[in-house]
Structure formats: C-alpha cells, structure tokens
Amino acid sequence: MKILVLVKNVPEVAEAELEIEQGALDLEDLEMVVNEWDNYAVEEAVRLTEAAGGDVHLMTLGGEDDEDVLRRGLAMGAHSATHLCDEAFEGSDPTTLARVFAAAVKDGGYDLILTGVQSADLGQASTGVLLAQELGLPHATMAIALEPGAGEVTVTRELENNTSEKVALPLPAVVTVQSGINQPRYVSIMGIRKVRKMTIEMLEAGDLGLESQALGREASSVAGQSLALPPVGEGAQMLTGSLDSVCGQAAAILREKGGLA
C-alpha cells in the first residue's frame, strides 16, 4: 500500500507567553513542532505499512526550516518526503493550498492519503477535505480507526458524545485523522540523526506548473484581518507579587468570600 501523509510544522503555544507583532504571532520565542493531528496520521501510516507492507511518503508545504517536520516523520519510519517550498505559497488559504497539494499529488499513485483533522495553528480543518474534492476522491474525516481491506478502507469516525460511525471508502481515498487514534512513538535525537542524509524532494510552484498569480494572498478568497490574544476575563482576577504575597492575597479573598470556614 502506498500512503501519503500531509504534515505541517506549527508553533507550540500551550505554555508560552504569546506576543503579536504586526498582526502576526511573534515566533521568536516559540518552538516549531509537528502538528499534533499530523503526528497521529504519520504513526498510523507507518503502522499500516509495518503490518502489511508498503511505503509512506510525507509532504509538507512551508519555509526552509519546516524541513524538520519531514525529518521527524522519516525518523518515525516514513520512506520518502517532498517539501513544497516557494515564497509564492505564502498566505494561501486552504482552497489554494488544496490546489497546490493536488498538483503535487495527482501523479503519485497513492492508495491512501492521510492528513490531520486540523492544524493546531489555524484550525480550519479543511485542507484534507478540499484536497479530496480537488482530486475527485472519496473522503472521511475524524478517523479514530483505519482498517484497510481489498480495494477499500473501513474508517471509524468519531462523533459527539462517544458515538462513532463506520464507513467504507473505495481506494484511493483521503482520510483526516483524529488525535488519539494511536499512541505515536517517541522520536529520538539519534533517530533523527540517522535520517539526516536522506534526500528530500524540493518542489517550487513552477515545478508543479502553477502560476504565481494563482497562489498566495492575492488568490485567496478569504482575507485575514487581525489576530488577537485572549482578553483578560472579567470574572478573573490576576494576583501579582511574590509567592508569599500571592498566597496571602488568595487566602484573604477566600476568607472574604466565605470559601474558608
């Protein structure tokens, strides 16, 4: 089975102190990590090929530094990778991105294309679905289990309130993978070192036969306006000062509001 997994490098923001500069997140102090959902997708693809044979190919779209996300996937057991890297791609909306991916994927002969359900940074959850549309392939979203069969794949989809739905798709097909489908393996530093010398295919817009005016911000149907940090909530009171002082203040508030008997 030949499987393609789309992966993306995203900034890790969970515990970071965020700053916005000129309408964009200041990435200076942020670490770029593999998009959580994509990590599950890579693990799933590697497991499928470990069990039944085949190849896992990775593809990302991004700047030069984003090669890391491909190296990490190769260290997990993927066999080859393509890096779509061109300034012309910057600012593209999911529809445009899907067109770019479609151009890069269409002659690949993949049986299965996996993406994460969504990306952690922009969270549009649409690239995978739009790619299926663009390629004219069946798709299923929110996969929490995959069982490949003869000429088809059975996908268990996660629905609300712990319900799930099983659907069968003829191959080739596009499936977006939900987190928790598996437990992704640890990627060691040595593992990444071992794949340092593997060649990664680099493609620009021209290689895909795409005109730059059909790409990027200009070609997008949605225009970004602003990015904002969460406002300080009205119900919340931020205590400042030394540890002792903060504890003292907190105790005083609890006492005052009757929280301490």
Binding site: E15, Y186, S188, I189, M190
Partner: protein
C-alpha cells in the same frame, strides 16, 4: 617406610577413568568456550586498560569475600569456607597431577602435611555446604530462592566431598598405613568398615562412584552458577576501571551495545538476592527486581550471541524463547530510580544499574514503548532545555530582584559559576534552594554568577532515561558555553547535575577546559572550615538528614552535610535507621520524578516513615528532587503535623538569619 601417595590403588581399568575424565573436561571446555566467546562479543572500553589500582581491591574482594561479609557474617563465613575449601582442593588436585605426571614431590613430611591440609579443606567445604543448605531449608534467609539447582548444586558437591572422604577411609581401613592419622577425617571414618577385607572389597565401588560424581560435577560446573567463580573476579576487577562511553543499541532490548564488563556481570551473579532486598522499588512491592532484569538480560545475551544457539537443532527453541521475552517487554526498566542501592550491596559489583540504562536506551530508540509522560519530558528537554515547562527562558525567574552576574554574557566575571539546574531554577518549592544558596554565598563573600536564562540542562535526565543523543547534544551545548566563556569552576545545587558534570562530561570533553565541580554541600563545608561561614545563633532543633542517592552512594559525600549540621549550635542530628551509604531512595531519581507508572508505590512516604521514627522536627536533605518528593509525601502521607522538610541550604540560610521565608512553611 616413607609415606607416599598411592595413585590408582586398588583400581582396575584406569583407561576407563581417563576416557570419562576426557569427556568431563570436554564438557567443561565447551561451557567455558561458550562463555568466553560470548564475553568477547561485548564492546570493550577502548583501549581496555590493565589497571593495577583496581587489582588490589578486586583480589581482596575475591579472596577475603569482603563484600559478602558486609551483607552478613554467616553468609561471609559460609562463602569463605566454600571458597577456601574448594580452592584448596582444586590446588591440591593440581599438585597431585604435577606429582603424578611431572615431578614427584609428594612423599615424606611434605605428603603428610599435604594430606592433612586437604583434609582440612574437605572439612571446610563440607561444613560450608551444610551451612548453605541450612540457609535455604532449616533457617531460611528471606532473600534466598529455592530453585532446583540451589539445592542440587550443594548436594552434589557434598556427595563429591563425602565420597572423597569415604574412599580415603576405605583405603586407610584396608591398608592401615602407620601415617594414617594425618588424614584425620578419613582416619576417623575408617572405623566404619568392619575390617580390612570388607574395606578392600568396597573400595572399587566407592572409588568409581566418587569418580563419576566428581567428573559429572566438573562437566556441569561451567553451566551452573558456580561459573561465577570465573566471572565474578573479572567483574570485580573491571568495576574498578573508569567509566567509558559505549554506543547505544539499535533495537529494543538489544544487548549488542553492552560492554565486556556488563556481559561478565551477567555470569557473575549468583542470585543471592541482596539487590532485591535493597531496591526501593522491589521493597515497596513494585513489579521490578534488579535480579530479574539481570537474568532476563543474561538469557537474551545467550540466546542472541551464544555460539551454541546457532546450532540448527536449537534454533526453534531460541526463536520461541526470544519471542516470549519480546512479548514480556522491558517496560519494567522504567521503575528503576538509579539509586545504586543494588550495586552497593552486590558482592560481585554486577547489579544492573548500567544495564537498565542500556535497556531504556533501546526502548527510546525503538520509540513505541516510551511511556507518554516521559515522552513529554524528553520533548521539553529537547526543545526548551528543561523537563518542566514548555517555554524558553524560564530559568532566570527565581533570581528576580537579585543582582547576580550573568556569566553567559561577555564582560561579566566571577570566581565561581553557580550551576542552578533545571528543577532548582523552575520548580516553585525548589527555587527556595537557589535563593537561600545565593544569599549564603553573598553572605560569605563568594564571587559567583549564573548562566541566567541561557543555562542548559546538564544532560542527566536524558542520560538516565536512555536518550543518549539528547544527552550528547546537551553536554556539547554546555561544553561550548563553558569553554566559550572560560568557565571552569562550578558549584551545583543538584547532586544529579553534579554527578553528570563531574563524571560524564569529561568523557566528552577531551578538547575542553578542565572542570572543577563541587556540590554546594562541599562548598559550604569548605567555607565553614576556612572560617568564612560561622554560625553564631543557636538553633535548638532536632533534625535528621536524608542522604540524596547521587550525593551519598554515587559520590560518597556523607560527611560534609553532617559536618555543616554539626557546626550549627544547638542543632541535634538524629540518624534514620538507613542513612549514609545505605539511605533509602526518595523515589525521584532515574526520571521517576516525571513519570506516573501504573502500580507505582509512594517511595517517599516509606522514607518519611523512617524519618518519623527518629522524632526529628525537621528532615534535612540536599537535593531539589529529594526536597520535592519528600515535601509531597509529607503532605499526602499524613506527616504534616510531625515535621517539616527543608533543604540544607535553606537551613544554613535560616541559621544565619538570612531568610525568614521558610520558617513558617517548614516547621
């Protein structure tokens, strides 16, 4: 009449004996060859130095059984009797061979003393064996198992020894030589025979049964746990050699990366169980046993690398056993706290602390058996240089409002680099140590600075968790920073950083500046001895000291912290039942601080139960991990109204009246 030995007296068909002896020797040779060829596949720390320094202690350990005495006098006595009895008889047999085939010297007085000496050795052996059997069956010692060969081996040897005495007795009864009394045991037993004729008649039967039992024993020897007679001395000798960098295995549980030393350890172990008794995890009932880890590794090593398992008819069995071990997995390796208690008590220095690290390295490289909390910790270490928070630059927050030179910047100078460490600089409870220590340093006029936000992780956690590549990266980053700024004198908060920077960094530092590393307890002790740190205010407190494993066992630092405690007027130190080199681990080492293992016990609570028994008002320690573990256990284990937990640095700062912050919280 000149006393002399009578070889093959009363025995026909000596050729048959020689044939059987050849067979037994072939079996012995095959067993030894298998072991040696397996050991030779281990990587040697290049180049294997022949260290004369290690030879003396190793010989003393072997010949006097020093490490066995430490575990109990009866065990020590038993082993000495067996060792010297066995060794004496072995040397005696060699002497007989020399006498018989090369130069005849066993006659006259020499022969008489020789006979008496062998009698004594035989007697020692018999008594030792009876003691060994008694320790399994009559007055059982809890740590000893009762596996079939634990009983069979001493019984067999007993049969050899007693058979030998009976043969001798029959010969003496039959021939009644005037010097017979020199063979005092056989002479005494000769009376059992009704007369010379009966003895003469029985003699061949006794002789042949003794010969068969003895030859059988020789054939079995290398396959039994008596193989430790060869592996243990080598293991003890190699343990005294310096640490070396060994490559890491490529696949799960792969032992290819094990060094010669580790492979010798595998055969040196006799399953005495001292490690199981000492291990904090095993003692607390967790599903971990150093002994079992070692023996699983030993089985794996044999299955994978023994030349015998390459024989076609053993291949199927090999596959089945390998499969069984693979299914069992090596996940129990995550229970180990790397506290070194097992190695401390191991008579042959074979306990599997390094092996656990290798096993973890195998699991890390393979990837899918790394528990998620540890994956998270390793990711944080890799991206943010600390195991605690996923953000950069968190390491300087503790020093807010303090004017401490940042030695990572050019233009800033100080005599000492205070290496704060991840936990001390980030964890809110442990930050107290950094603040107290910097106040004490300032009070004593020590010129010091830190690396501020830029302080890297020393690599200890990555090393203990088996992430060799990350460890190397972190050590290189630390080296580059230190070399770039010309920093060579370090004082560490954490015994873990101290241990790693002191012992592991130099292995990677051939090009770098020579480092001088101290733990802060050493530094404060030195300041006190120099008179730069004096305690003027009495502190009437009863305290007990919890030795951090990486200070006491790993680095033998037990006197310095106690010296400081003794210097504070009014302070009374009461020791816990297990202290110093025998201290019980708090459970925070080996990465367990960042791990929740299913079925794990609260090891720190068990430690605090020992502390509570002393009646101390304060438990003092000198490690941020111990501090956090014990503080948590104090709260969850119901010790809150019994005593407080405090770090030595905080106690010193309080004694100097530099800080009041800790007073209410700790007591």
């Amino acid at each position: 009449m000149n006393p002399l030995r009578m070889p093959f007296w009363g025995v026909d068909a000596a050729w048959l004996f020689y044939l059987l002896a050849a067979l037994a020797m072939a079996c012995l040779g095959l067993g030894l060859w298998e072991k040696i060829s397996l050991w030779r596949q281990g990587r040697r720390a290049a180049p294997a130095p022949s260290s004369k320094q290690a030879l003396g202690p190793a010989l003393a350990d072997v010949l006097l059984g020093r490490r066995i005495w430490r575990g109990g006098r009866i065990a020590g006595l038993m082993h000495l009797m067996l060792l010297w009895g066995f060794l004496g008889l072995f040397l005696g047999t060699c002497a007989v061979a020399v006498d018989h085939y090369l130069i005849s010297f066993l006659h006259g007085r020499v022969y008489l003393w020789f006979s008496a000496g062998l009698e004594a050795c035989g007697l020692l052996l018999v008594l030792g064996l009876m003691l060994a059997l008694a320790r399994r069956w009559l007055l059982p010692v809890a740590r000893l198992e009762r596996r079939p060969d634990d009983t069979l081996l001493p019984l067999w040897l007993l049969a050899v020894a007693c058979g030998g005495f009976m043969v001798e007795a029959a010969r003496l009864a039959a021939t009644a030589p005037p010097w017979g009394a020199w063979s005092f045991v056989g002479y005494g037993l000769a009376g059992l025979f009704p007369g010379p004729e009966a003895a003469r008649e029985l003699f061949p039967w006794l002789w042949w049964s003794h010969a068969l039992v003895s030859l059988g024993f020789i054939a079995w020897l290398p396959w039994s746990k008596l193989a430790h007679a060869i592996a243990a001395p080598a293991s003890l000798y190699l343990q005294g050699q310096p640490l070396a960098v060994l490559a890491v295995a490529a696949e799960e549980g792969d032992l290819a990366a094990l060094g010669l030393r580790h492979l010798l350890h595998l055969d040196a172990c006799t399953r005495c169980g001292r490690c199981v008794e000492a291990c904090p995890s095993a003692r607390a009932g967790e599903p971990f046993s150093p002994r079992d880890v070692l023996h699983r590794a030993r089985r794996q090593a044999r299955l994978k690398y023994s030349p015998l398992y390459r024989l076609p008819w053993l291949r199927g069995r090999r596959q089945a056993l390998l499969e069984r071990d693979r299914a069992a997995g090596w996940e129990d390796a995550w229970y180990c706290t790397t506290c070194r208690a097992c190695l401390e008590v191991c008579p042959v220095q074979a306990a599997p602390i390094e092996m656990v690290r290798k096993l973890r390295a195998g699991l890390v490289e393979q990837g899918s058996a790394v528990p998620p909390p540890l994956m998270d910790t390793l990711e944080k270490l890799h991206r943010y240089g600390n195991p605690w928070v996923a953000k950069k630059g968190a390491k300087a927050a503790w020093a807010a409002g303090r004017d401490i030179p940042d030695l990572s910047r050019s233009g800033q100078e100080a005599d000492w680099l205070y290496f704060v460490g991840c936990t001390t600089s980030i964890d809110t409870r442990a930050q107290g140590i950094a603040r107290a220590l910097s106040d004490v340093f300032t009070h004593c006029g020590v010129s010091f600075g830190t690396l501020g936000k830029k302080e890297p992780c020393c690599g200890d956690i990555a090393r203990r968790l088996g992430e060799q590549g990350l460890m190397e990266e972190q050590i290189e980053a630390t080296r580059d920073l230190l070399n770039g700024r010309g920093l060579t004198r370090l004082v560490c908060t954490s015994p873990h950083c101290f241990d790693t920077i002191k012992k592991v960094h130099p292995l990677f530092l051939e090009e770098g500046l020579p480092l001088r590393v101290l733990h802060y307890s050493q530094m404060l002790h030195r300041l006190w001895r120099q008179g730069r740190l004096t305690f003027d205010h009495p502190m009437p407190l009863k305290v007990t000291f919890h030795d951090p494993c990486f200070l006491a066992r790993h680095n033998r630092i037990v006197d310095e912290p106690r010296g400081l405690l003794g210097a504070i007027p009014g302070l009374e130190l009461v020791e816990m039942a297990e202290h110093g080199l025998n201290a019980l681990c708090c459970g925070g080492g080996g990465g367990r601080m960042w791990h929740e293992i299913p079925g794990q016990a609260n090891l720190a609570v068990r430690r605090l139960e020992q502390a509570a028994a002393t009646g101390a008002e304060l438990v003092v320690t000198a490690c941020p991990l111990c501090l956090i573990m014990l503080e948590d256990a104090r709260k969850t284990g119901g010790f809150e109204d019994k005593f407080g937990i405090i770090d030595l640095s905080e106690l010193v700062a309080r004694a100097l009246r530099l800080t009041a912050a800790m007073d209410e919280e700790a007591v």
